[in-house]
C-alpha cells in the first residue's frame, strides 16, 4: 500500500549514499523520491497497489541476493539501496527498455503522448539509439474502442495501470487484459465497445500513448500547450483541473496527481465535458428584443436600457417589484457583487440562487442544529471514516469524486458502508456504490423519509444513545422516542419493504462507528420533506453522540459547483454574506457600513415566492443571471405564466436559453474558463478559478456587468479587477480565504446544539416524525427525474464529448419491471398522469429498483410536464423531481 501506516515509527535507510528517514512501511521507491532519487518505473503509481510487473524500478539492496523492485519493497532500518549508483541495476533497466522497445512501434511522430511519454524519457536516459531487436514486431489490428477513448495497443507496455485504476480507484472494472504473453492487450471487459464511466482515468494514467483521448487526437504536441490550473465548473465536488490550451483553444483537461481535492481523479464531466465554453452557440453581443426578434447591440445601449428599465420599475412600483436570480455556477465574486448590486443599488433583498433547488435544505439543517453553514467534516474525514451512511446520494452519478472518497474508505481502508439508496445492488457499466455496502437498505425514491425513521427507531430501540446528552436534554430524547414508538414496524415495512431486523443491523453497525460521516444527496435534499429528512439525520447523529466527535458529521452534497458559495455570498435573499441573517439589524448595520450604502430591511424572498408574486403582478422585473428556470422547473410551478406577466426580463447568459428567449434584454456573460474568481465546493473549500482562454466575443465576466450597470444607475460599485472583490469579501468575511490543501472543517457550535436540544427541536418535530402518506396505486410507477453521471444540469448539453456518451433522454426501468409490462429495451412508451402524457423510448438498467422509473433531468423538456410541484414550508425549496405515472407500451413501436 502506498499509504504508510499511521504510526509515527520511522526507519532510516541510505539510497545512493543519501540518508532518508521515512515512516515505517514506506516503499523504497517513495523513500528514494523523498531524497530526490527518481527511480524509473512504468507500472508503479502511488494511487495503486504495487504490481511489480514492469521490472524497471530494479535496485540493488545490500544483503539481498538479487535485484529488487523498489516499488514493492518496503524500506527497513539500515537498508542500503543503490539505484543510479548500481551498475547492475542500470544495466538491468537498460535491458528492460530493450525488451519493451522490442515490440513498441516507435511511432512517436504520430503519437499524442510524444513529448510526455515515460518510455520516451527513459529511452533518452538509458538506451542506445538503435535496438538489437531485429525480429518481427507483433502487430495488433486496429480496433474501434469507444467514442471518447482511443487505444493503440501496439504501444502498450502492459503495465496494467489502467486496469488497476479502473478497478481499484473507480470500482468500474471496465478494462481487462486479454490474451497471453506478448499478445496481451487491454480491452473492454466483454465483447463490445467500451461502455464505462468515461472518467478518463485510463488516459491520464497511461505512461505511454496506448490509451488517448479522441477529443484531442492529433491536435497538439505537449510543449505547445499552455497550462491553466483551475476548478471544474460542473458539480459541487470542486475538482482541480488543468486547462490545456493551444492558440486560445481548449485542447484537453488534466488533473494532477497530488493536487486538488480530487487528487488527480476526474469524472466524465470534468475530463470530457470541457467544450461548453467554445460552443458555437455562445452569445457574443448583447441582444435587445424588438417585437418577436432579437437585435444585436453594443454594450452601452444594452446596459443603458437595463439600467433605465430597472430604475423605471423601481420608481413606479418600488424596489421590491424587482427580483434577481443567480446561478450557483457563477463565481463567489460574481454572486457577491450581484447580491450587493440588488441590495445596495436596486434596493431589494428579493434575490435567490440555484442553491434553493436543494442545497439549502442541507445548509439550513447544519446551521440550525450545529450552528455552522459548512460541513464539520472534510473529504479526508470521509476517507478515514470507519462507518459511512449514504442516504439518497446516488453518489456515482451526482458527486462522483466524493464517491471515490467513499470507495477509498470502504475498499482500501475497510470502512463499513450503510446505504439507504434507491438503487439495486447490480453490476453495470458504471460503478454502483451499493455493491460495496455492508448494510444496504434499498427503497424507492419516495421511501427515504420512512427508511430514515426506521433507522432512528432501531437506534432508539437498541438504546444506541448518548447517555450524557440524554441526561442533559431528556425532553428532546423523550420526544423523539415517543414519536418513534408510535410508528409501527409494520407500517415502516409497508412503505419500504424492509423488515425491522435490517434496520436493527444497520443501527448496530452505525452505533459501533467511531468516525461516522453521513452523506446526503439529492434523493433527500430535492424530494418532498427534504428539510425534515435532513433534520432527522442530524437527530440521528446527535442522539447517538456522534455529531460532535472529531471526524463525524453530516455532509449534504452540492449539485452545482458553487451552490455552497451562492449561499455564503448572500445569494439567497434572507441570508446575507457569511450566512448571517438579514433579519438581524446589527448584521445589516455592519454590512451597510462596510458597503457605504444602506441595506433594505424588507424581507428576502425565494424563487417560489418570486414566481408567485410575478403571477399576481406584484413582481414586475426579473434579473436572471446564468439560471434557466423555464428549463429547470416543471410547468406546474407556474413559471411560464410568471415570466409572461413580467414587464421586464433581463437574462445574463452564455447561451440563448429557453428563459433568455423570453427576455427583453440578453447580456452575454463569459464562462468559468474565461475569468478569474473562486468557487466554494461542497465541503466548504474555496478554490481559485483562473482564466484559460480569452473572453468569447464581447462577453464579459458577470461581476463586471453588474458593476457597469451600477454606474448606469448612478450608484457606482467600481472594481478594478476581481482581486479587489476578493479582498472586499475577505475583509468582510474572515472565513473565506482560499485555503490550503487540507482545510480544517468547521466545528459544531455547542451553544447552537444546546439551543436545538432544549427548545428549537419542538418547532417541527411533530411533522418530521410522521410517516408520509402513501397513496400508491398498484399499476402506477414512481418516476424520478434524476442526475446522470454524464451531464450536469442543461449546461453540459453543450459539451460535445458528453453528448457522444449520452445525447437523449430515455425512461429507464428494471428489466423485470419492463418484462412484466411487456416492454422491451428500445420500445416507445406513453408515460402519463393527470398532468399530461409523453412518449419516450425505454432503456433497461438492473440498478433501478422495481416500481421505479428514472429519467435523466438533463433531457426532461417533455417529461417535466408530468412533474407535480411542491414547496418546502420551512426552507422554500421547490420539490419537483418525483411523480407517479402510468406506463403503456405504444403498440407498433
Amino acid at each position: 500500500m502506498p499509504t504508510p501506516s499511521t504510526t509515527t515509527e520511522t526507519v532510516t535507510l541510505t539510497i545512493d549514499g543519501q540518508t532518508a528517514t521515512v515512516p515505517k512501511g514506506t516503499l523504497v521507491i517513495e523513500a528514494a523520491r523523498q531524497v530526490g532519487v527518481m527511480v524509473p518505473h512504468f507500472c508503479y503509481h502511488p494511487k495503486l497497489t504495487p504490481d511489480a510487473n514492469c521490472r524497471m524500478c530494479l535496485v540493488e539492496i545490500e544483503k539481498m541476493p538479487r535485484l529488487q523492485t523498489s516499488c514493492s519493497t518496503q524500506a527497513t532500518e539500515g537498508m542500503v539501496v543503490k539505484s543510479s549508483s548500481s551498475v547492475q541495476a542500470q544495466e538491468a533497466r537498460k535491458m528492460v527498455l530493450d525488451f519493451i522497445l522490442a515490440n513498441h512501434p516507435l511511432d512517436c511522430p504520430v503519437c499524442d503522448q510524444g513529448g510526455r511519454c515515460d518510455l520516451q524519457d527513459f529511452s533518452h536516459e538509458y538506451t542506445a539509439t538503435s535496438s538489437r531487436f531485429q525480429e518481427l514486431k507483433r502487430v495488433f489490428p486496429k480496433e474501434y474502442f469507444s467514442p471518447l477513448i482511443e487505444t493503440q495497443m501496439n504501444r502498450c507496455v502492459q503495465c496494467m495501470r489502467c486496469v488497476r485504476y479502473c478497478d481499484q480507484i473507480m470500482d468500474v472494472k471496465a478494462l481487462a487484459p486479454t490474451g497471453r504473453g506478448t499478445l496481451t492487450e487491454i480491452k473492454a471487459f466483454g465483447a463490445h465497445e467500451l461502455d464505462c464511466e468515461f472518467c478518463g482515468g485510463c488516459v491520464q494514467i497511461c505512461p505511454v500513448g496506448a490509451i488517448t483521448s479522441r477529443l484531442s487526437m492529433y491536435e497538439f504536441r505537449p510543449w505547445m500547450l499552455k497550462r491553466t490550473d483551475s476548478v471544474c465548473g460542473y458539480c459541487g465536488d470542486g475538482c482541480q483541473i488543468t486547462f490545456q490550451t493551444k492558440d486560445n483553444a481548449l485542447i484537453e483537461i488534466n488533473s494532477t496527481q497530488g493536487s486538488g481535492r480530487n487528487n488527480g481523479d476526474l469524472c466524465a464531466r470534468g475530463y470530457f465535458g470541457y467544450h461548453v465554453s467554445e460552443h458555437p452557440d455562445r452569445l457574443t453581443l448583447p441582444l435587445i428584443r424588438k417585437g418577436d426578434e432579437f437585435q444585436s447591440v453594443q454594450w452601452e445601449e444594452a446596459l443603458e436600457l437595463v439600467g433605465q428599465q430597472l430604475l423605471d420599475v423601481k420608481a413606479k412600483y418600488g424596489a421590491d417589484a424587482i427580483g434577481g436570480l443567480i446561478s450557483g455556477r457563477c463565481t463567489n465574486e460574481d454572486i457577491y457583487v450581484f447580491q450587493k448590486f440588488m441590495r445596495g443599488v436596486v434596493g431589494t433583498n428579493r434575490i435567490d440562487s440555484s442553491a434553493r433547488y436543494g442545497h439549502l435544505n442541507g445548509v439550513h439543517a447544519l446551521q440550525r442544529v450545529q450552528g455552522t453553514h459548512r460541513w464539520s467534516v472534510s473529504f479526508e474525514d470521509i476517507e478515514s471514516a470507519d462507518t459511512l451512511l449514504l442516504v439518497g446520494t446516488n453518489i456515482t452519478e451526482t458527486n462522483p469524486i466524493t464517491g471515490l472518497k467513499v470507495k477509498e474508505a470502504v475498499k482500501r481502508r475497510g470502512a463499513k458502508l450503510i446505504t439507504i439508496e434507491a438503487l439495486n445492488p447490480a453490476i453495470g457499466s458504471i460503478s454502483n456504490i451499493v455493491n460495496l455496502a455492508q448494510q444496504h437498505l434499498g427503497v424507492k425514491p419516495t421511501g427515504f423519509s420512512t427508511a430514515i425513521l426506521g433507522l432512528l427507531k432501531a437506534v432508539v430501540e437498541q438504546s444506541i444513545l448518548d447517555a450524557e446528552l440524554q441526561g442533559k436534554a431528556p425532553a428532546y430524547f423523550n420526544a423523539i422516542s415517543a414519536r418513534l414508538q408510535a410508528l409501527s414496524w409494520d407500517a415502516i415495512f409497508a412503505q419500504t419493504g424492509l423488515a425491522s431486523d435490517l434496520f436493527t443491523e444497520a443501527a448496530q453497525v452505525f452505533g459501533q462507528g467511531k468516525k461516522v460521516v453521513v452523506l446526503v444527496g439529492p434523493g433527500v435534499l430535492r424530494s418532498e420533506g427534504g428539510f425534515g429528512m435532513t433534520m432527522n439525520l442530524m437527530d440521528l447523529l446527535l442522539i447517538t453522540g456522534k455529531l460532535t466527535n472529531p471526524g463525524c458529521g453530516l455532509a449534504p452534497l452540492a449539485e452545482e459547483n458553487n451552490d455552497q458559495g451562492a449561499f455564503e455570498m448572500g445569494g439567497t435573499g434572507a441570508v446575507l454574506p457569511g450566512g448571517t441573517s438579514l433579519g438581524d439589524p446589527a448584521v445589516r448595520e455592519n454590512l451597510s457600513k462596510a458597503w457605504g450604502r444602506p441595506i433594505p430591511d424588507t424581507p428576502g424572498s425565494s424563487l417560489p415566492q418570486l414566481i408567485e408574486d410575478a403571477q399576481q403582478g406584484k413582481l414586475k422585473a426579473l434579473f436572471v443571471v446564468g439560471e434557466n428556470p423555464l428549463a429547470s422547473l416543471p410547468p406546474s410551478s407556474g413559471i411560464h405564466s410568471a415570466l409572461e406577466k413580467l414587464d421586464f426580463l433581463v437574462c445574463q447568459e452564455l447561451f440563448l436559453t429557453e428563459t433568455a428567449q423570453k427576455a427583453h434584454v440578453v447580456l452575454p456573460a463569459c464562462s468559468y474558463a474565461e475569468k478569474d474568481g473562486t468557487f466554494t465546493n461542497t465541503e466548504g473549500h474555496i478554490q481559485s478559478v483562473r482564466t484559460a482562454i480569452d473572453m468569447v466575443g464581447e462577453s464579459r465576466p458577470d461581476w463586471e456587468i453588474f458593476s457597469a450597470l451600477s454606474v448606469m444607475m448612478n450608484n457606482p460599485m467600481e472594481y478594478g479587477d476581481v482581486k479587489e472583490i476578493g479582498k472586499e469579501i475577505r475583509n468582510l468575511l474572515p472565513g473565506t480565504r482560499t485555503l490550503g490543501p487540507a482545510p480544517l472543517p468547521a466545528q459544531p457550535d455547542s451553544s447552537a446544539i444546546a439551543r436545538y436540544v432544549t427548545t428549537d427541536y419542538q418547532r417541527d418535530i411533530a411533522p418530521r416524525y410522521q410517516l408520509p402518506v402513501n397513496d400508491a396505486a398498484t399499476d402506477e410507477i414512481t418516476l424520478q427525474v434524476s442526475q446522470s453521471l454524464f451531464h450536469s444540469g442543461k449546461f453540459s448539453r453543450k459539451a460535445k464529448g458528453l453528448l457522444q456518451v449520452e445525447a437523449t433522454g430515455k425512461i429507464y426501468l428494471h428489466p423485470e419491471e419492463a418484462a412484466r409490462r411487456g416492454i422491451s429495451d428500445g420500445d416507445m412508451v406513453k408515460v402519463s398522469n393527470s398532468l399530461g402524457e409523453v412518449l419516450t423510448p425505454v432503456g433497461l438498467r438492473e440498478r433501478i429498483p422495481q416500481g421505479v422509473a428514472t429519467f435523466p433531468e438533463h433531457f426532461d423538456e417533455e417529461i417535466r410536464q408530468l412533474l407535480p410541484y411542491k414547496v418546502d414550508p420551512e426552507t422554500q425549496v421547490p420539490y419537483y423531481k418525483l411523480a407517479r405515472v402510468h406506463l403503456k407500451k405504444v403498440v407498433g413501436s
Partner: protein, 435 residues
C-alpha cells in the same frame, strides 16, 4: 530389471485395484486419517512430517513440514489448503496417474493436512485438460463424504473438512502457486509478487498451504508408518522417500517409475527404463521437467536427489526425465521448449513476456539457417536478463534449455550460423524492410 518397493503406486499395482473407496479401504486406506483424528494434535502431525524430511514433489522441493509450520496458529478466520494438480510441465505425468488410479490416497493426505494446518476448506486445482481425473476425483470426494471421511462431521469428531475440485482453463502458469491462487479466486492467472507469501496471505489473502498431488499422497503413509521410517528411505538426510519419476524420450520403456531418491540416473534410465530404444547412445537428458537445464552423458552417475542434481547445474524439479539420443539436434530441442515457454509466458513481467518472444524468434532464425554473427552473444545476454528478473520462476525456467544447450552444445548453434553466413547473399544494397 530390479524391483523396488513402492509406496505411492503400491495399491494400483495390485491386479484389479479400481481406486474406489472400497478398494482403498481394503488396502488399509483412511486408517491414517482415523489415527490422526483420534490420537494426534495438529502440532504432532506437523512434527511428524518434519521428521520425515518430506520435500515438496511439485518442483521446488521445499520441506513440507516447514511449510505447514509457517501457517499462523492463532489466525482468526479461515485458512486454506490447495492441492496443486495443475500438472503441466512437459515430460511430467505422475500426478495424473495418482489422481486417476488412486484418488483417495491423495484425498486422505489432504484431509490430514487440513487437520494439521487447521483448514476447513481445501481445493484441488486440477489442470483443465484432465477431464477424466477431475471426474474421478469428484466422485471420490463424494464417496469419502458419504463415508464420513470428509464433510461437516469427519468421523464423528465434529470437525469440518471439505474438498472442492476446481478445474483450470489451460494455462501452464497456473501451476505456479500464486498464479494458481489468483486463478482459483476467479482472476486472471498470473503470479503475485512475494512477499507476502501464501502461508500468510494466500487464497483470498488468508493463510494457505499449496502442496503438490504427490506430496499429499505421501502423507497417509508417513502418518501410518512414522516420519522416521520415511526418513530412512532414499537418500537421507535431505532427499528422503521415494519419488515417481516420469521417463520419456528415446528409451525402451517410457513411463512412471517410483524409485527411492538417490538412485543414479544411469541405473534409472538403463535398468529401470530399459535403456536406449536403438543403438544410438544417449546424447542429453532433461532431469526434472522442461524447466530443468539439460544434462549430458557425463552426468549419468549423478544421484537423483535434490542436492546432487543442483550441484550438476540443473534441478530435480517435477521428476520428468526426458532422454534424447545421439542425432537429436539440441538447437531444435531448445527451440521446441522455447516455443512452449513463449506460448505460456503469462505476460506479466516485461523480461519474460518480451524475452520469450525475442528468444524464440532468434532460435527460429538460427534453426532456419538465418542466424547471424552475434546471435549467440545476444542469446546469452537476453537469458541473463530474464533469469532472476521476474516475479516467478518462469524466467529461470524458460532460459534453462537455451543456457544449458549453449553450454554443452554451442558448436551445434555455431554450425548452423556458419552455414547461414556462408549461404547468405553478400549484397551491398540497402535491405528493404518487409513483414
Amino acid at each position: 530389471m530390479a524391483q523396488y518397493e513402492t509406496i505411492l503406486l503400491k495399491n494400483m499395482e495390485q491386479p484389479g485395484y479400481s481406486g474406489s473407496l472400497e478398494d482403498y479401504e481394503r488396502a488399509g486406506g483412511y486408517q491414517a486419517l482415523r489415527k490422526v483424528l483420534k490420537d494426534m494434535q495438529p502440532d504432532q502431525v506437523i512434527e511428524e512430517v518434519k521428521k520425515s524430511s518430506l520435500r515438496g514433489r511439485g518442483g521446488a522441493g521445499f520441506p513440507t513440514g516447514v511449510k505447514w509450520g509457517f501457517i499462523p496458529k492463532d489466525h482468526p478466520g479461515p485458512k486454506y489448503l490447495c492441492c496443486n494438480a495443475d500438472e503441466s510441465e512437459p515430460g511430467t505425468f505422475k500426478d495424473r496417474q495418482l489422481m486417476e488410479r488412486d484418488p483417495h490416497q491423495m484425498l486422505e493426505g489432504m484431509a490430514i493436512t487440513c487437520f494439521a494446518i487447521g483448514a476447513e476448506t481445501s481445493y484441488v486445482y486440477i489442470r483443465g485438460e484432465f477431464r477424466l481425473g477431475a471426474k474421478i476425483l469428484e466422485k471420490a470426494v463424494q464417496e469419502a463424504k458419504a463415508a464420513g471421511y470428509l464433510g461437516e462431521n469427519v468421523l464423528g469428531t465434529g470437525r469440518t473438512i471439505n474438498i472442492f475440485v476446481h478445474a483450470g482453463a489451460g494455462a501452464y502458469i497456473c501451476g505456479e502457486e500464486t498464479a494458481l491462487l489468483e486463478s482459483l479466486e476467479g482472476k486472471r492467472g498470473q503470479p503475485r509478487f512475494k512477499p507476502p507469501f501464501p502461508a500468510t496471505h494466500g487464497l483470498y489473502q488468508k493463510p494457505t498451504v499449496v502442496n503438490n498431488v504427490e506430496t499429499m499422497a505421501n502423507i497417509p503413509h508417513i502418518m501410518n508408518k512414522g516420519g522416521e521410517w520415511f526418513a530412512g528411505i532414499g537418500s537421507p538426510p535431505k532427499s528422503c522417500g521415494t519419488r515417481i519419476f516420469c521417463l520419456s524420450g528415446h528409451v525402451n520403456r517410457p513411463g512412471n517409475y517410483e524409485v527411492p531418491m538417490g538412485m543414479p540416473f544411469r541405473e534409472f534410465i538403463y535398468d529401470v527404463g530399459g535403456g536406449m530404444r536403438s543403438d544410438k547412445p544417449l546424447k542429453a537428458f532433461i532431469p526434472g521437467g522442461a524447466s530443468a537445464p539439460f544434462l549430458t552423458p557425463e552426468h549419468l552417475d549423478v544421484k537423483m536427489d535434490f542436492e546432487a542434481v543442483a550441484m550438476a547445474g540443473s534441478m530435480l524439479g517435477s521428476g520428468g526425465v526426458t532422454v534424447m539420443e545421439e542425432g537429436t539436434s539440441m538447437v531444435w530441442a531448445a527451440l521446441r521448449l522455447m516455443e512452449f515457454f513463449y506460448h505460456e509466458s503469462c505476460g506479466k513481467c516485461t523480461p519474460c513476456r518480451e524475452g520469450s518472444s525475442w528468444l524464440t524468434q532468434i532460435l527460429q532464425r538460427i534453426w532456419n539457417k538465418q542466424g547471424r554473427q552475434g546471435d549467440l552473444d545476444l542469446l546469452d545476454e537476453l537469458c541473463k536478463n530474464i533469469a532472476g528478473r521476474t516475479i516467478c520462476a518462469f524466467g529461470e525456467a524458460e532460459v534453462g534449455p537455451i543456457q544449458s544447450t549453449l553450454k554443452y552444445f554451442r558448436h551445434e548453434y555455431e554450425e548452423l550460423i556458419r552455414e547461414a553466413e556462408a549461404t547468405r547473399p553478400q549484397s551491398k544494397e540497402i535491405p528493404v524492410f518487409t513483414h
